[in-house]
Amino acid sequence: MGILSTSRVKSPWLLHFDCGSCNGCDIEILAALTPLYDIERFGIVNMGNPKHADVLLVTGPANYRNYRVLRNLYEQMPDPKGVIVVGTCGCTGGVFHNCPNIIGGIDKVIPVDVYVPGCAARPEAIIDGVVLALKKLSRS
C-alpha cells in the first residue's frame, strides 16, 4: 500500500445521516464514539459536513420525503468516498418495506458499499462495517 492509501485507511471521517430510522441504530453509532469503543483510536472522526467526510453512514429506509436530501449529501462528498448502511431498514426497507411512502433500501437512491444488518446493529458490527468500507477506499 502506498502512503496515500494508508492515510485513507487511517483517517476515515464519517458523516451520519438518519433517513428516518427508529433511532436505535443511531444510538449504537453514537455508542461507538464513546470512550468505551473510542473509534478515534482508528482516526475515525464524526463530521457534521459532507464536504469534509469520506464515509457516509446511513440509517433508516429510503423514502420519498427525504431521498433528495440523501442524494444531495452524497453528491457533496468529495471522491473517493464510501457509503455504509447501518441496520436492516437501510439494507432492505426492513419492517417498513411495503409502506406507501417507502422506496426501499438505501441502494435504491445512492450506491452502497457496505451493508451492516441488525436491528439494531451492534457497535462492533458498525466498526466492522467501517473497516470493510476502508478496504474499498484503499483500493480507489
Binding site: K10, S11, E40, R41, N46, M47, N49, K51, P78
Partner: protein, 289 residues
C-alpha cells in the same frame, strides 16, 4: 549572524515547522483523549489526515475561494521566513495577519449560510487577538531596544522577568489563534461540529489540507514568538520549555472550558489582554520594570 546562516535557518524553519506543528497536533489529540478517559489516535494521525485530504478530488462552492486558501498558506510561510530571517517583529505580525485574513475572506466569498457565519465570527476573533499581538510587540521593543527579532537576540538577557505581564496577555491571543475553548467560536481544532465547522465549512479535500498546513505554521510561529521571551542570556533551551508549557496550558484550558460567546471573548480580550500589555508598557515607561 551571517546572511548565509540566516537564509539557512529560514529554509530549515520552512521545512521543519509543519512537522513540529503536525506532531504537536497529534500529541494534542492524544493528550486530550487521555484527559477524557480515551486512548486516542496515533500521534502521527494529523499527517494521515492531511495526506488523505490532499488525495481527494477537488470541490469548490464559489468565487475566489481557492485563491484565498493558497494565499493563506503562502503568506503564513512568508511570515515564518521573515521571522527566521530575524526581521522586524511588527512586519512579521503584519504579514501573519494578512495571511490569517485570507481565511475569513475566503469563507465570505462563498454564498453559503454556514461559511458566512464562520467568516464573520473569524473576523471577530481577529478583532480580539490582533491588537493584543501588535501591542505586545511594543514592550518587547522597548526592553530590547528595537523592533527587530535580531535585537532580541542581541539584548543578552531573558525578557520574561520584565515582561511576564505581557506574556500572560499573549496566552489569551494564543488560545484564540489555536482555536481552543473558550475561544473556538469560528471553528474548532478538534472536530467539534458546531455550525458545521464555521470558517472552513466550504473548504474540502486538498484545500482543507492547505488550510490545516497553514494552521500548523501559524501555531508554530506563535509559539516561537512566545519562545522569544527567554531566548538569550544562557539557558536558551528554556525558550522551548516556555513555548511547550504555554501550549500545554492551552490544552488544559481547552479541556476544562466550554465555548463562550463572541461578545464575551471580545470583552475579555480587549479588557484583560489589552490592559495587561498596557500596564506592562506603562511600568516600563515609568522605569518600574
Amino acid at each position: 549572524m551571517s546572511t548565509g546562516c540566516l537564509i539557512g535557518s529560514a529554509v530549515i524553519a520552512v521545512i521543519v515547522a509543519p512537522w513540529i506543528g503536525g506532531l504537536l497536533r497529534g500529541i494534542d489529540r492524544k493528550l486530550t483523549a487521555h484527559m477524557q478517559g480515551r486512548i486516542g489516535p496515533p500521534i502521527i494521525q494529523p499527517f494521515y489526515d492531511v495526506i488523505k485530504l490532499f488525495g481527494k478530488k477537488p470541490m469548490v462552492a464559489g468565487g475566489a475561494q481557492l485563491a484565498f486558501a493558497y494565499a493563506y498558506l503562502a503568506l503564513i510561510i512568508t511570515a515564518t521566513v521573515f521571522f527566521a530571517l530575524r526581521q522586524d517583529l511588527l512586519v512579521v505580525l503584519f504579514i501573519l495577519f494578512f495571511g490569517s485574513l485570507c481565511l475569513p475572506i475566503g469563507a465570505l466569498s462563498v454564498k453559503s449560510p454556514y461559511s458566512q457565519f464562520g467568516g464573520h465570527r473569524e473576523l471577530l476573533q481577529f478583532l480580539a487577538y490582533e491588537p493584543i499581538l501588535l501591542l505586545a510587540a511594543i514592550p518587547i521593543a522597548l526592553k530590547s531596544g528595537g523592533f527587530t527579532i535580531a535585537n532580541i537576540f542581541e539584548y543578552g538577557q531573558p525578557l520574561l522577568p520584565h515582561l511576564w505581564i505581557t506574556f500572560i496577555a499573549l496566552l489569551i491571543a494564543l488560545a484564540i489563534v489555536m482555536r481552543k475553548s473558550p475561544f473556538d467560536i469560528s471553528s474548532s481544532e478538534h472536530a467539534h461540529q458546531e455550525l458545521v465547522r464555521g470558517v472552513v465549512t466550504e473548504y474540502s479535500g486538498p484545500y482543507l489540507a492547505l488550510i490545516e498546513l497553514g494552521h500548523w505554521y501559524e501555531m508554530v510561529l506563535l509559539l516561537s514568538i512566545l519562545g522569544l521571551f527567554w531566548v538569550t542570556g544562557g539557558l536558551w533551551w528554556l525558550s522551548i520549555i516556555i513555548a511547550l508549557a504555554s501550549w500545554f496550558i492551552m490544552l488544559i484550558v481547552d479541556n476544562i472550558n466550554a465555548r463562550l460567546t463572541w461578545s464575551w471573548m471580545l470583552k475579555f480580550a480587549w479588557g484583560a489582554g489589552i490592559s495587561l500589555v498596557a500596564l506592562n508598557i506603562l511600568f516600563i515607561n515609568l522605569g518600574w520594570m
